[in-house]
Amino acid sequence: MLKLTNIHKSFGDLKVLKGVDLEIKQGEVKAIIGPSGTGKSTLLRCINYLEKPDEGKIMIDQLDLDAKTITKQEIYKLRKSTAMVFQSFNLFKNKTALENIIESLVLIKKIDKRSAIEMGMDILRKVGLEDKRNVYPSKLSGGQQQRISIGRALAVNPKVILFDEPTSSLDPELVGEVLELIKKLAKENMTMVIVTHEMSFAKDVADKILFMDDGKILQEGTPEEILLSPTSPRITKFISRLSS
Amino acid sequence: MFNQRKGIAIVGLMIVVLLTQLGCTGSTGAAEGDVEDAVVEGVVEEVDEEEQEKIVVGTSGEYYPWAFQKDGVLQGFEIDVWNEIAKRNNLEISFETSRFSGLIGMLDTGRIDTIAHQMSITEERKEKYNFTEPYAYSYYDFAVRSDNTMESLDDLIGKSVGCWQGGNGERTLRAINDEHNLNLDIRTYDGVPIEQEVELGRLDASWQGEVKTLATIEKNNLDLKLLDIKLVFETNAYPFVKGSEKDALREDISKTIRDMHQDGTLSNFSKKWFDLDTTVKP
């Protein structure tokens, strides 16, 4: 359903992605782990073109996009099929919880306001925050903000949701509610790519774990394969440090 | 949080008001000074059957008693003279007030037709402007505090002297300074009470038209005296830019000024404002 081929990306002289291939099937959950600065987030951001890859192909559904020839219109189409959940939530500060969710419905999908609000309320119920509909982000806890932000991603009705370290900037006691919500989505067969540091969570929720190092995918496999039979000493080292 | 339609409506409204404004602000009737008055005048004038030629006279409104504004009314010797000229020549007159230093620029760019600000005929100015018949004659003189012991030009050496910026006063003062090696500290002002600067002791002396100084001293009971060093004598007339449209009126205006000299109108105005006759050649 989503297929990346040979993605390259440099920032100036620094090569961040050195030819990444990745394929995700409908309903699959893949977690990306690896040391900091190895291009995990960049890879994710390339998938919905917040970063433009220097080279490589992205195929999603009927779209077949080549970095060399992509047009603005194609980028907008790509973004309608993908949604992003950010580490620091990035909720629209001047919009209430509900307004954050329905923004894309009204503006992009051109759904009339009343139906949009109904759909928005459904989503708020799904993330368990219907009582916060008129609250501005600044009045919400980090966990609540991240759940609204997942709701905003759901409203796009994307083929795939991209999570960029969704719990990294949360206080420990707030991590649980967000992970629970993601697990719930996984059960509903939502296709997801999750960059995370939470090994145990990755093990729980992901069908496959990808280990990234130095701009490449070093190993891809089930959680068991990665944890029990790592193919590289770098992976062993990384995992042992996490569990210690 | 911000209502867009309302915003657009407000901006739209302002643009409409502005455009109306553009149409109406030709020359503000400075005598009344009010924008609305000017608009009303404009309407009345259109109804007038006889087409009156317009003339716009520039002055400063802070040059007592030649041209000044008091209680919102522009008045003074120059204003009386020009209202009389307009009456006798069937001209529709309006006054524009500005800083003195701005008046020359306004004259050169055609925004005003002439200047009523005790302007004197000089060789330099004659290159650019045609002057009317002279209407007044004045000496320039130094004024100092009454308790000052200065008497002659030599006493002024190294002293600070104030004059009007860009006027004949400044030009002549610089010439005197050079000629007599006075080493003066010349300070130029525009719209500043030079006489008060002398009285307060911030200036040692002022240099301006004798009539103007005398009138100001008397009106405000200033503790000043004139030094009676009358090195400069100037002839006041109204300038018109050579080749300008209104220059054609100059002959008629000159004739009116000659008439007003003869029938005593100018002398009367002068006595009214200065308590002396500055309109006869000494």
Binding site: K93, R152 | A30
Partner: protein, 220 residues
């Protein structure tokens, strides 16, 4: 010389009569200047080719030269080269120069405010499929305006105060009135005490309005 209270009181209705010129000039300047400022800020922020370096020069010119010089350049200087400008009334010349000048300052305030909005806000907009301009209009500018209000209020206050410079090219407004009344009566103390109080009052009212506006914008 003592303070002539009666003279001062007599000046007040005269001041108010000319207050409208000051107010109209200031409000029009603010509306036009703010509109231009937004256009400049958006073009500069979007880094539109050719235009945005040109506008940088514009901003640098109007910020880097005295307002009075700009006023004289347009009203007297350029009028000698372009005769069509002679038809421009002093009021409109002042309006144009004040607007262009204040736009330069306000565009910087707006640009700074736009840049102060977290980068993540724009990314979030783009990630759900909004275009650059949609993001600006719906999310970035509303947040930026809140940051910009104090600076823009300062600009407006400056406009009110600098509108008195229009007198130098012959616009009779409040300051001109005070100057002329003072010169003709030699009562500088009274005239300037009154005018300073009137300006102070206007600016205080503006300050009060600014506080109210900020409270309203601070709901989120």
């Amino acid at each position: 010389m003592s303070f002539d209270i009666q003279f001062a009181i007599r000046l007040i209705p005269l001041m108010l009569q000319y207050l409208q010129v000051t107010v109209i000039l200031s409000i029009f300047t603010m509306v036009i200047g703010l509109t231009i400022a937004f256009v400049i800020a958006l073009i500069t922020d979007a880094k539109i080719k050719i235009l945005s370096p040109l506008l940088k020069v514009y901003v640098s010119f109007f910020r880097g030269t005295p307002l009075l010089a700009q006023l004289f350049l347009l009203y007297f200087g350029l009028a000698q080269v372009f005769p069509v400008l002679i038809k421009l009334s002093a009021f409109n010349a002042a309006l144009i120069v004040l607007s262009l000048n204040s736009a330069a300052f306000m565009s910087e305030a707006i640009r700074g405010a736009i840049m102060s909005v977290e980068k993540g806000q724009m990314e979030a907009c783009l990630s759900i499929g909004m275009t650059y301009w949609q993001s600006m209009r719906r999310i970035i500018l509303p947040q930026a305006i809140r940051t910009a209000v104090p600076a823009l209020s300062n600009s407006f206050i400056n406009i009110v105060k600098s509108s008195s410079l229009a007198y130098t090219i012959g616009v009779t407004e409040m300051m001109a009135m005070a100057q002329m009344e003072a010169a003709s009566s030699y009562r500088y103390l009274e005239a300037f005490v009154v005018i300073i109080l009137v300006y102070w009052l206007i600016i205080s009212v503006l300050g009060h309005m600014q506080n109210k506006l900020e409270l309203r914008l601070n709901e989120y």
